[in-house]
């Protein structure tokens, strides 16, 4: 049987990720957004380490280390640099206002709780709460991607989705290939960060605003 302390700490950390996902939604400055994302990754690393400890699964510490080093340090630093280089730190362009976005976010969290707690009645308590929180993080990440125009904040949204998935994968007790999957996902994200940098979207489009990219479609050169 799981002791209350073990459960409470896991619950606190996973719940913390949902909370930070909400914080991501209302950031209106680029650098602030990246700092909050780094916090998101730190909490993920803590949560994964806790899972590694209580499941007695040392390989999960690798996943935690990847989360901490790559997602909490390297990628935010690289993105800070890109934001400075491209001079886009002024503000985050939103499609929908902050208020409606937050309301929609609450709706999504309620939805994922209602759905996941109902269908996972057979699974153990830890996996249940992890899956429910993870789906909330994934849906909030999707919400962030559709409510932001800027390419960098879309990448941040995508990475927060990825964090949610890692949370779900580590919560599912004894799931194989978690480390491999987290590595594969980090490669994906690394590629796109390098992509933004190398292709210098700014130089080509003068903006990283996705609406501007849309305007090029169908135009002849």
């Amino acid at each position: 049987m799981i002791s209350p302390l073990v459960y409470d700490v896991a619950h606190l950390l996973a719940g913390g990720m949902v909370l930070v996902s909400f914080m991501l939604l209302y950031q209106d400055r680029m650098h602030g957004l990246l700092n909050v994302f780094a916090l998101h990754a730190v909490i993920l690393a803590l949560s994964v380490s806790w899972e590694a400890y209580i499941q007695d699964a040392p390989h999960l510490f690798i996943t935690a280390a990847i989360a901490l080093i790559v997602k909490a340090i390297i990628i935010p630093l690289a993105l800070h640099r890109i934001v400075r280089r491209l001079n886009i730190h002024r503000s985050v362009e939103t499609v929908v206002g902050i208020g409606p976005t937050m309301l929609a976010g609450m709706g999504l969290v309620a939805l994922s709780m209602a759905l996941m707690l109902r269908v996972t009645s057979a699974a153990d308590a830890l996996a249940r709460q992890d899956l429910a929180f993870a789906l909330s993080v994934v849906l909030l990440g999707l919400l962030m991607m559709v409510s932001r125009r800027n390419a960098v904040s879309q990448v941040v949204g995508l990475m927060s989705i990825e964090n949610g998935l890692i949370l779900a994968a580590t919560g599912a007790k004894g799931m194989p290939l978690v480390v491999e999957i987290s590595v594969a996902f980090s490669v994906l994200v690394a590629f796109i960060v390098i992509g933004i940098f190398l292709f210098r979207i700014r130089e080509r489009f003068d903006t990283v605003d996705m609406q501007a990219l849309d305007r090029f479609r169908g135009e002849s050169q």
Binding site: L158, L165, A169, L213
Partner: protein
């Protein structure tokens, strides 16, 4: 030495994966595009031979990789079109260098990525582990994203970005579905690798928690469905097809969409094996039919020739998903046949379109006229391809579409009417467009064709042959696979 004696000497399954994997590094390091283009063809040919040998020698089921009657169809088709496309690409890509659209460095990267893409797709098809399947699909996505953006124009970068964002969201959803399948299987099978091994999952699927499987399948269908290009989540597909190099458009339409569909089919089989779970058929039928009807109307408004055929791919993936969603031996048989015919025909069309775009210097439909007069071989080849893809007799697609329609009429007449409506609307659009392209007075630039016509005609001959006469062993094989799909 007999053929089977030869192949039993080495592991054919390993070869299908190792040849592309080794080629990535060789092609990335070798300078000179003539050599690398040739080596790319050679590697693709060897992979094809190894894949064909899997038909005769079936390796043992491993915990990570396996070959069964279902995936062997996909793997042979995949390596065959991979080989013919590499042939086309070798003759096509040199001209891109001459016109300055690519530099030698990018060309080296292109060939390495081509093999990386083949590796990703072959790995996805051979994976016996649903986690490995996911990683392989992700790899294939990443490599194609880079291929789509290789020209580095505004449009190409925008297309690559859109494809990357939508594709990533898709595979993220698919991963969540994969995790849920593990959560469902873990109480029954126990922790560890077995609980993600497909062959073990299918044996125990009946005991899984049905509610959890239902939610998992919705995520998997939406996730992998994004990569299939099904209607609500198809937005990346036309851009990616239009802006990348044409050989990549051929591979995207002919192969990558199939690989994603294969993943959906595997999970559909799991769902069918669990009686308490939601029937996956109606979901697939709805998505398929929506894609078909939506894409067939969208065909009328296309001004770019590659976008036109990209929408036609959405339409055909809709038909195939519809057929597999209907299920049953006949509809599954029709779906398999249609998938094969579509891969061959659509890649042939893209070979023609690539040559047209190079000869005319444009992809705008309005600027391409009178091809049968200015470039007779190319013009008539394209015409035959479009007649085939529109589903006119006597070509192969007519037969598979006919089977889909008749099997649907017998069971769900109302759905069959919608299906026929979509097919006719698409037929009208394609024939209307192709008459403008093929006939009339030629306009614009008229340079000679640089790319080879051979791969296009090889595909068209196969499609015509299948329309006239399907060899009994092939029919028996497909029937067997159709029964497996349930």
């Amino acid at each position: 030495m007999t053929f089977s004696g030869f192949v039993s000497g080495f592991d054919a399954l390993g070869a299908v994966l190792l040849i592309p994997l080794a080629s990535i590094f060789i092609l990335a390091l070798l300078p000179g595009y003539r050599v690398t283009a040739l080596l790319n063809v050679l590697a693709s040919l060897l992979t094809l031979l190894a894949a064909i040998s899997l038909l005769f020698v079936r390796p043992e089921v491993g915990s990570l990789l396996f070959v069964d009657d279902l995936n062997v169809v996909f793997i042979v088709l995949n390596t065959l079109v991979g080989f013919t496309t590499s042939l086309f690409s070798a003759s096509y890509i040199a001209h891109e260098l001459e016109t300055g659209r690519l530099t030698p460095t990018y060309l080296r990267f292109y060939h390495a990525m081509y093999q990386a893409m083949m590796f990703g797709m072959n790995l996805a098809l051979l994976a016996n582990n649903i986690g490995l399947l996911w990683v392989a699909v992700e790899l294939a996505t990443l490599t194609t994203v880079m291929m789509v953006g290789i020209y580095r124009t505004h449009e190409a970068l925008e297309a690559a970005w859109k494809y990357f964002i939508l594709g990533s969201v898709g595979i993220a959803l698919a991963l969540f579905g994969t995790i849920l399948v593990y959560v469902a299987s873990q109480p029954v099978i126990g922790e560890g690798l077995d609980a993600m091994t497909w062959t073990i999952l299918i044996e125990h699927a009946a005991q899984f928690d049905a509610a959890l499987l239902n939610v998992a399948f919705v995520f998997l269908l939406l996730g992998y469905g994004t990569k299939v290009g099904l209607a609500p989540v198809h937005a990346w597909l036309p851009d990616a097809h239009a802006e990348g190099p044409t050989p990549i458009s051929a591979v995207l339409s002919g192969l990558l969409l199939n690989v994603a569909l294969y993943a959906v089919l595997r999970f559909k089989m799991l769902m069918t094996a669990n009686e308490a779970a939601l029937a996956p058929g109606p979901l697939m039928v709805t998505m398929g039919l929506t894609s078909l009807i939506f894409a067939s109307f969208m065909l009328y408004r296309r001004r770019d020739i590659k976008r036109l055929f990209a929408y036609s791919s959405i339409e055909h993936m809709g038909i195939i998903t519809f057929a597999f969603g209907m299920g049953g031996p006949l509809a599954n048989f029709a779906g398999l046949l249609h998938m094969t015919m579509h891969s061959l025909t659509k890649s042939a069309i893209f070979f023609a379109v690539g040559n047209i775009a190079q000869a005319k210097g444009t992809q705008k439909i309005a600027d391409i006229r009178g091809l049968t007069e200015s470039h007779p071989v190319l013009g008539w080849g394209l015409l035959v391809g479009v007649v085939a893809i529109a589903g006119l007799p006597p070509l192969g697609i007519f037969m598979s579409e006919f089977l889909v329609v008749t099997s649907t009429f017998a069971r769900q007449p109302l759905l069959a009417i919608l299906l026929v409506l979509g097919l006719l609307v698409a037929l009208g659009a394609l024939l209307w467009r192709v008459t403008g392209i093929a006939f009339g007075t030629p306009v614009g630039r008229m340079e000679p064709v640089h790319g080879s016509h051979l791969p296009m005609f090889a595909h068209l001959v196969l499609v015509l042959g299948a329309g006239l006469y399907l060899p009994p062993p092939l029919v028996a094989w497909f029937q067997h696979v159709a029964n497996l799909l349930g």
